[in-house]
């Protein structure tokens, strides 16, 4: 087994089995790190807790819902707005955060009364919203508050409201992934099948494991609608609470992030016989094949092909412009879970970048299987890395850019490694054809930023060439490329608008 031991982790020998290097001839039967295990004491993990995974990843993107955290205010406040899951109702779920604000006295005397008061207060403050999700935390779980009973009591007293109870305290799993699992199962058990939807098409899907980061869901839904498909619900980005209660009525579950939402697809398959179809919304080829696959299922492949042809003709020359300039750029692909396999191969194939390392904070071995299968030889794959390991990897691999979350991203900047936000994006959306070009543009802007180049100089000792003026990104990036070929190929920089999402909300189909 090609395990990799970090120098900084020699004192934590258990860490050795959490990192591998994919060598020549290695495959999944010889090269796979351990995964989804409790973090080893002494290793300062970058993971989130199971409450965070349930509430902040999956619950909160639901748009027409008051999301109330039953716990100390820090549980909800410290993780509020860490992801840009926008919505078409003026971002209600994103603008406000709600907590019962438990204190020591509630730990001693119980906090069910506090919970009930908070629920009614929140409904009164926002009379236009009559759906709520309440989330357990470590504190409220440990004192044993019966949140289901409180929710039922309120629903009995206020017949117009509906409340979902998510029992996923921080300790309910090794990482946020434990929370993904818990909320998936809780939703299907409590809510699916409790609303009968209006069916408006012969072709009906749920779009699952999609969180509308900077508009991803709206871009993808536009394609489905153009094909004549009714998107009954989205689990959960820009998704509506009552739509998600009717998930049982779809013909197909189209699954994007299997890491966070395969559970509900599997359950819907078992309980209602709805097939699960995994797709990739990132990258021209995976996206095109995904649309075609959904099209084939419904007999709509011609409509899918029309979209593929139109979108490819519009955006491919722009992708090519960036791809020509990104060839050979070294990348550490260090996201949370699913993007390690969504992106591992296609960024190499379509943008020419080299993935020198991949890691996952909370992924399972199944995610690493997909990631390692898709990355090239020599890549260092790390499960649940700690900060020192991340630093050691960056020093050794010398990447040009890393795709990761905010916290490790800030560490990278201090090492003069450029970073792109893989979770919340820089200038997304990144899904869709245009989105993929926007991603390429963000990578380009990161790698060739003149400020980044200048930051390598230490003006107290380095000699600065004052005659050579300020260079632009294009001067840097185009030094080594064949510009004639680029022009002959009609390649061009991104020409889309700053906001490529809002106009979709006005569209009729």
């Amino acid at each position: 087994m090609p395990y990799h031991t970090f120098k900084c982790s020699k004192c934590i020998p258990e860490r050795t089995k959490h990192a591998v290097i994919k060598g020549h001839g290695e495959d999944l039967t010889s090269c796979l790190p351990l995964g989804y295990l409790n973090t080893i004491p002494g290793s300062i993990s970058e993971r989130g807790c199971a409450f965070c995974g349930a509430k902040h990843v999956i619950g909160t993107p639901m748009k027409d819902v008051i999301h109330l955290c039953h716990g100390p205010v820090g549980c909800t406040y410290d993780t509020w707005q860490t992801k840009r899951y926008i919505s078409d109702n003026d971002n209600f779920q994103f603008k406000y955060t709600f907590a019962t604000d438990m204190k020591e006295k509630h730990i001693v005397f119980g906090s069910e009364k506090l919970l009930k008061e908070s629920i009614t207060e929140a409904f009164k403050a926002f009379p236009e919203i009559n759906r709520m999700a309440i989330y357990q935390t470590c504190a409220s779980a440990l004192i044993g508050d019966d949140m289901d009973a409180v929710a039922q009591e309120v629903m009995n007293e206020m017949p117009d409201v509906d409340i979902f109870v998510c029992n996923s305290p921080g300790f309910a799993g090794p990482s946020q992934s434990g929370g993904h699992h818990k909320i998936n199962i809780a939703w299907v058990n409590q809510k699916v099948g409790t609303v009968e939807p209006k069916i408006t098409s012969d072709y009906v899907i749920n779009y699952v494991g999609e969180y509308n980061i900077q508009g991803d869901q709206e871009v993808m839904t536009d394609y489905f609608k153009r094909m004549g498909i009714q998107v009954l619900s989205t689990f959960t980005g820009n998704g509506s609470y009552d739509d998600l209660r009717s998930m049982h009525k779809a013909d197909l579950n189209v699954l994007e992030c299997a890491r966070s939402a395969e559970y509900i697809c599997n359950e819907l398959r078992e309980r209602y016989g709805t097939p699960r179809m995994d797709i990739d919304g990132f990258g021209f080829k995976p996206l095109s094949e995904s649309l075609l696959k959904v099209g084939l299922f419904f007999g709509l492949e011609e409509k899918a092909q029309k979209i593929i042809d139109e979108e490819t003709a519009r955006w491919k020359p722009e992708l090519d412009w960036y791809a020509r300039r990104l060839k050979g750029v070294k990348v550490c692909l260090w996201p949370g879970g699913s993007k390690l396999w969504h992106w591992a191969n296609v960024i190499h194939e379509e943008m020419g970048v080299e993935v020198v390392s991949l890691y996952t904070k909370f992924g399972h071995q199944g995610d690493m299987e997909k990631g390692i299968a898709r990355c090239g030889e020599g890549a260092l794959a790390i499960d649940d890395p700690n900060e020192l390991e991340g630093i050691e990897a960056m020093m050794e691999l010398q990447p040009d850019v890393i795709f990761t979350g905010v916290r490790p991203g800030e560490v990278a900047k201090k090492l003069r490694v450029q970073y792109l936000n893989a979770h919340a994006y820089h200038n997304g959306p990144y899904k869709g054809y245009e989105g993929w070009v926007r991603f390429a543009r963000d990578i380009y802007n990161a790698v060739y930023s003149p400020i980044h180049q200048l930051s390598g100089f230490d003006i107290s000792k380095d000699e600065i060439d004052m005659d050579n003026g300020f260079v632009t990104k294009n001067i840097i990036s185009d030094a080594e490329i064949d510009r004639e070929a680029s022009i002959a190929n009609n390649e061009r920089e991104y020409t889309g608008k700053y906001d490529c999402v809002t106009h979709l909300r006005e569209k009729t189909y």
């Binding site: 495959d27 999944l28 039967t29 010889s30 796979l32 351990l34 989804y36 013909d251 197909l252 299997a258 395969e262 559970y263 599997n266 359950e267 016989g273 709805t274 097939p275 699960r276 179809m277 995994d278 797709i279 990739d280 080829k285 995976p286 094949e289 075609l292 696959k293 959904v294 084939l296 299922f297 396999w341 191969n345 194939e349 399972h364 071995q365 199944g366 299987e369 997909k370 299968a373 898709r374």
Partner: protein, 116 residues
Amino acid sequence: MDEIQNEKVEQLVNYIMKWSLWQFNSREWDREKQNEEILKKTMQILCDEPVDNGTPEARYYWSEAMILSSDFKTNFEWISQMKKTEIKKLMEDLKNRIDYLTITGSLNAELKVKRY
């Protein structure tokens, strides 16, 4: 398996690993079914045999198989030169290899977990 056949199988395996997701459902029994159904239907399409797509479940497998067979034909021109018996043998060897990599030889400890 002779070396040429082996080389062909590895090319197809590599393609599936790089571009497909269906082989990586999270449980062993699920992977067995996915591999079996999708590769069987892919073989049937490549051999111009009738393919069952009458139920939602079968239609899903068929949709995956349509994409895969089309990709195989586009990316590996030698497939079109093969006789049907050869394609069947190739697909059988491919299925065995994919089963080994994703199920019987897999190091993924979660495959045997009973529930999702």
